[in-house]
């Protein structure tokens, strides 16, 4: 009757995910950022801010900061590692499976939002939308 998957949530909390949660990559403020966006997960109130330096259509530098769960922080770490040097077009073409491939863990459907907040925020920053609120 129910199609809620039976995979245990515990499968998400692999060492590499928790290592990134405890010591995230590319975390903090980026001086001289050309692009910036603050994204919210309205379900839980988590927020992250992504800052980028984009030159000639390519990412020169990227940082993120914010408060989030292990899944959100780990995915944002992996994503910001992945996109350095990439073109904005390549970033805009990234989709859910790309994030899941980076994370290498099964994500339960209720946690998709957490895993994807980084990508959503990154793409909005690249598109050049204004930062929400006092980012």
């Amino acid at each position: 009757m129910s199609n809620i998957e039976e995979t245990l949530s515990e499968e998400m909390y692999r060492e590499h995910i928790l290592d990134l949660y405890k010591s995230p990559h590319n975390f903090g403020d980026l001086e001289g950022a050309t692009h910036k966006h603050k994204g919210f997960n309205p379900l839980c109130g988590d927020e992250i801010t992504v800052q980028l330096i984009i030159k000639d259509g390519k990412v020169q530098a990227v940082k993120f900061k914010g408060q989030g769960c292990a899944i959100n922080i780990a995915s944002s770490s992996l994503l910001t590692d992945e996109i350095k040097g990439k073109t904005t077009q390549a970033i805009m073409e990234m989709k859910t499976p790309d994030v899941l491939d980076l994370m290498k863990i099964p994500i339960s459907s209720v946690r998709f939002k957490c895993a994807l907040l980084g990508l959503e925020t990154l793409q909005k920053a690249v598109q050049g939308s204004e930062p929400d609120g006092n980012a």
């Binding site: 949530s9 909390y13 692999r14 060492e15 379900l43 839980c44 109130g45 988590d46 292990a70």
Partner: protein, 412 residues
């Protein structure tokens, strides 16, 4: 009868969900602040209505319709008696949110004054409708602050509620902190300043005896689904004279006495506020829920939940590295918000879910309160009559396990 673990276990037998399994494990339900489970008695009452009495009310001249009308009116009477209201002082709505919106749209017609006073611990349901009213009518919102012990600053309330205040609307029991606010005291302040007083009783009515005459509030809003009743039910209590004065929020069938092409005359209370076919089966389910709770005894329910809270506070203390956001057993209902150092509440909730332990994680629809506390969210366990200390033991075991997972991480 006082409630203890064995009585709670006996009551639990009335709740089909709590006797079922998911993935072969029992369900440990600690999210009663969000909604409570439904006893068989309520489920049966709803089915019985559809199986034996279903007809529209206030219309048919045939027996079936008369029976349905009587059952619906009796549900009103039960609800009124439950909170010590006078006859026709309770309007059925779809819940707390609906009740408060109704007031936010109609009260401006019968009040003047520039300010609306709320507290810093409001649920969005008792905040956003007033923000919108303030914008529409150029009014100002003011907030009674919370002290470091998670209780309201009543001295500040005395300064904030003034002759300029039109409306004072406060949460009775905080859905995040558990704090049981002194509604009587705030309503008296409102009365002294000729302001309308409103109580958001969403989290108090399911867990304690409510007496609207003792509180002396002008209005009181509540939801049926948080008190063993069906979703989409709830009510708005209002003092008779105010309900007479207040214009209807929704208009249409059932709420009129007579209609011409140009004009309509409103029906008597409560029909004046219940336009259209109401949630008849829901009202009957709600009234059965009230009977169920009254048979257990509201005082017994409150006492047991405080005992569970006391146990939970002690046990979380023992675990260590847990911050609780609660004013203590004396001043709190059975709601416990907490955070574990270094572990996000969402991650905790996911790991607890592996063992079917249901808690809430996040901002609990109280984002300004989270900002005030300086946190993005909390984990929250909220109790009801059918919970036992064993449920709390399971929660504590789950918390310890989560801490272990986060200390090591499961190997690749």
């Amino acid at each position: 009868m006082k409630i203890d673990n064995s009585r709670a276990k006996q009551l639990r037998l009335d709740f089909p969900i709590l006797n079922s399994n998911k993935n072969g494990k029992p369900i440990i339900y600690l999210d009663n602040g969000a909604t409570t489970q439904k006893p068989q008695q309520v489920i049966n009452a709803i089915s019985a209505f559809y199986e034996t009495q279903n007809a529209n009310i206030h219309r048919g001249l045939y027996k079936l319709s008369q029976e349905a009308t009587e059952a619906y009116e009796q549900a009103h009477a039960f609800t009124e008696k439950f909170i010590n209201a006078n006859p026709h002082e309770v309007i059925f709505t779809s819940g707390t949110t609906d009740s408060i919106n109704m007031l936010a749209f109609t009260l401006p017609e019968i009040t003047n004054g520039k300010n609306i006073v709320l507290t810093e611990m409001e649920h969005h349901a008792n905040l956003v409708p007033w923000q919108q009213l303030a914008k529409r009518n150029s009014m100002k919102l003011k907030f009674i602050p919370i002290k470091d012990d998670f209780t309201l600053d009543y001295a500040a309330a005395e300064q904030l509620i003034t002759e300029d205040t039109a409306i004072v609307s406060i949460v009775h029991t905080s859905n995040v902190l558990g704090t049981q606010n002194d509604a009587k005291r705030i309503c008296a302040l409102a009365k002294d300043n000729n302001a309308i007083s409103i109580i958001d009783a969403a989290q108090s009515i399911p867990h304690s005896k409510i007496d609207v005459k003792r509180i002396d509030c002008d209005f009181l809003a509540f939801s049926g689904h948080k008190m063993c009743g069906p979703t989409g039910t709830g009510g708005l209590y209002g003092k008779h004279d105010l309900l007479e004065e207040l214009p209807p929020y929704k208009t249409g069938g059932d709420m009129i006495r007579s209609v011409s092409k140009e004009n309509a005359e409103w029906n008597d209370l409560p029909m004046k506020f219940e336009a259209g076919t109401p949630n008849i089966a829901g009202a009957i389910g709600l009234s059965e829920a009230i009977t169920y709770l009254e048979n257990i005894g509201m005082e017994n329910i409150e006492a047991w939940e405080k005992q569970l809270l006391k146990y939970a506070l002690e046990k979380t203390q023992e675990v260590g590295a847990i911050t609780t956001f609660n004013p203590g057993v004396e001043k709190s209902a059975g709601i416990l918000s907490f955070n574990i150092a270094g572990i996000h509440s969402h991650d905790l909730a996911s790991l607890l879910d592996d063992d079917n332990i249901c808690i809430r994680a996040g901002h609990h629809c109280a984002m300004p309160l989270m900002t005030k506390l300086g946190i993005p969210g909390t984990a929250r366990a909220s109790f009801y009559v059918y919970n036992t200390t064993e449920d709390i033991d399971a929660l504590i075991t789950g918390i310890k396990h989560t801490k272990q997972v986060f200390a090591k991480g499961i190997p690749k």
